[in-house]
């Protein structure tokens, strides 16, 4: 039972590391800002959750598990809202102009962030 828990912890850590590295390659290699945001969004929710679940399975202490669960919950709330604010600000200001989808006569909407 104990070795099974250790093996599953190692599996979660390995999958999380693979997702992190693939997101890092994505942020370097993708051509556009929004595609880079897609790669970063994969690493920020799924890979973080995988690594933190691996750490939760790794140690038996109860208080440390509660702290890791708190970090996991906080990351799952914080990083999608930060990504949403980033995409909102980028779309509102000038990122669509660089894609030639928007002309100079379009109005810039005021911010309600």
């Amino acid at each position: 039972m104990d070795s099974l828990i250790q093996i599953s912890s190692g599996f979660f850590l390995l999958v999380g590391s693979f997702l992190c590295v693939s997101g890092g390659v994505g942020i370097l290699r993708f051509p556009d800002f929004y595609t880079r945001m897609h790669a970063v969004g994969v690493t920020e929710t799924l890979a973080t959750a995988m690594i933190l679940i691996g750490l939760i399975l790794h140690n038996p202490d109860f208080l440390v598990d509660i702290k890791l669960l708190l970090i996991l919950l906080m990351t799952l709330f914080i990083s999608p809202s930060a990504s949403h604010a980033l995409a909102n600000a980028a779309m509102r200001n000038e990122m669509l102009k660089s894609n030639e989808n928007k002309t100079d006569s379009d109005e810039v909407k005021p911010s309600n962030l």
Partner: protein, 91 residues
């Protein structure tokens, strides 16, 4: 496996710094800073277990909150800055 995950996160942090230096626009840099902060939280948690001192998790919690506040602050500042520059360009 803990050490392998730590090395992988180091490599990803170097990639995020490279994108932050190379990034053509401001938002690429903000995206790289956000990714770097999230990976720093993971790195602090993993290093706490590698070194055998899980008290580092408190620092990781505080770092997650500071990272979110800094990203939102920079985005709000860039919003005002871009609006002002676009208004000047229009006039």
């Amino acid at each position: 496996m803990l050490i392998a995950a730590t090395i992988a996160i180091f490599v990803v942090m170097i990639m995020a710094v490279a994108r932050g230096v190379l990034g053509p626009t401001l938002y690429d840099r903000v995206l790289a800073v956000n990714m770097f902060g999230t990976k720093t939280v993971l790195l602090i948690s993993l290093l706490g277990f590698v070194m055998g001192r899980p008290e580092f998790l408190d620092i990781a919690i505080v770092y997650a909150l500071i990272n979110f506040i800094s990203v939102i602050g920079v985005l709000r500042y860039s919003d005002n800055f871009m609006l002002k520059r676009n208004g000047q360009k229009k006039n």
